[in-house]
Amino acid sequence: MDKVITLWEGSGLYNLQLGQAVMIVVGLVLLYLAIYKKFEPLLLVPIGFGGILANIPEAGLAISALDQAIEVAKPAVLQQIATALGVALDPLANAESWRVALKSVADGNASAEALRAAKYVAVNVGYSDGMLYNFYKVAIGTGVAPLIIFMGVGAMTDFGPLLANPRTLFLGAAAQFGIFATLFGAVALSSMGVMDFSLNQAAAIGIIGGADGPTSIYVSSVLAPELLGAIAVAAYAYMALVPLIQPPIMRLLTSKKEREITMTQLRPVSKLEKIIFPLMLLILVALFLPDAAPLLGMFCFGNLMRECGVVERLSDTAQNSLINIVTIILGLSVGSKLMAESFLSVETLGILGLGIVAFGIGTAAGVLMAKLMNLVSKMPINPLIGAAGVSAVPMAARVANKVGLEANPHNFLLMHAMGPNVAGVIGSAVAAGVMIKYLG
């Protein structure tokens, strides 16, 4: 009978907290969006599922052995942990208050030595690091997963349109205004006391406006890991919403005449130019912004493997099995950051709100930049392709094409929009480098 009670008291239903229930529903909603609304399913299916796993009561899949022990171990074990951490537990208080005290020390100012000793206690009595916790530590904690995904993205990217019309890089630059405006917005909200974001957190939130999943994850893993879950979810969700967010802004800022502008066909680009480009970009990064070297270095490496034509085996693997494997692990790892206690807060709402603002401002800045360039240059640019500068490859380019076709059914902008589209990837990575330089 004792055993039956243990079973019941160890069940999820008995231990389910409201926050966890809410987060499980959030996970299901993400899965619904991914599966039925096709919101970036490659990432949101693993993220949503990982979010559910992370919130299973008592399972502790997303926490370390020590946190697990502090949360559920018996009082005797808690006392051992307290000794290891050098904490004096109030003998009159109950176990729950001990847990709170231990948790605050473990998360806070314990020395490396004390933490190691406490972890040793936890492991010795049978607790182990949760599966998602391990995934996070290896995949995101070291930064390797977003970098390998970026390599794969590089191996899938064709810089031909950009090389044929390098001026489109300015559009990719302008669209990054979304990032910095949002950063300033987050800071402003904090100074007004509405939210409570540090400068690092504001920067990590701003990068959502880069519309680039791996860049967002990489930056927030460096600057604000505590917000990573919300930031990644916002980044991918809004990338999927690009076809809804962008068109109204694009129509608002352009006349029908501008949207009808036809662009001259792109010149063919030689293989040699395509090979030199990633190397040139790498050298420029090395000379001017070493902090962007991990991101852009891996991106250029992937692209060089694609274009050099002598390592097709490796390029294929980078675009397929390797990126797929890493995507599964990365998605589950991000999901591990959807634990109720960190995700369910007013900050998350702030992030979601600021994220959509970032997309909007980026879109507007890209369009306006294109109009500005039309003023100073003779070669006409359809301002719609400026919106593609936010990246969200290839969704934003398709949106530009679609809105263009509405205005002029014979005007295919897709290839022209691919230029600013991939320029936006570079622009966001450069912006990420600047932020890491100052705040990392």
Partner: protein
Amino acid sequence: MQNAELLNEGLALMALGMGFVFIFLTVLVISVTLMSSTVRRFHPAPASSAPVRREPPASSSQDDEVQAVISAAVHRYRRQKGRES
């Protein structure tokens, strides 16, 4: 951090970041333009060498099994294509 100071920091970072992004991409535009013109001078582009990768020869054949294989390949090919576009 004081509110005003935080605001100042944010403003400074915005200016600096946006400025740097523009400078960097401007340098990139200049470099790309120079590079392309150099390349095109010394290696005049061979008619059309743009995105014609993976289009080798071909031929024809029939019967059920082959049909099945081809359709499977079509399927796989489309999926692959969908993935990259």
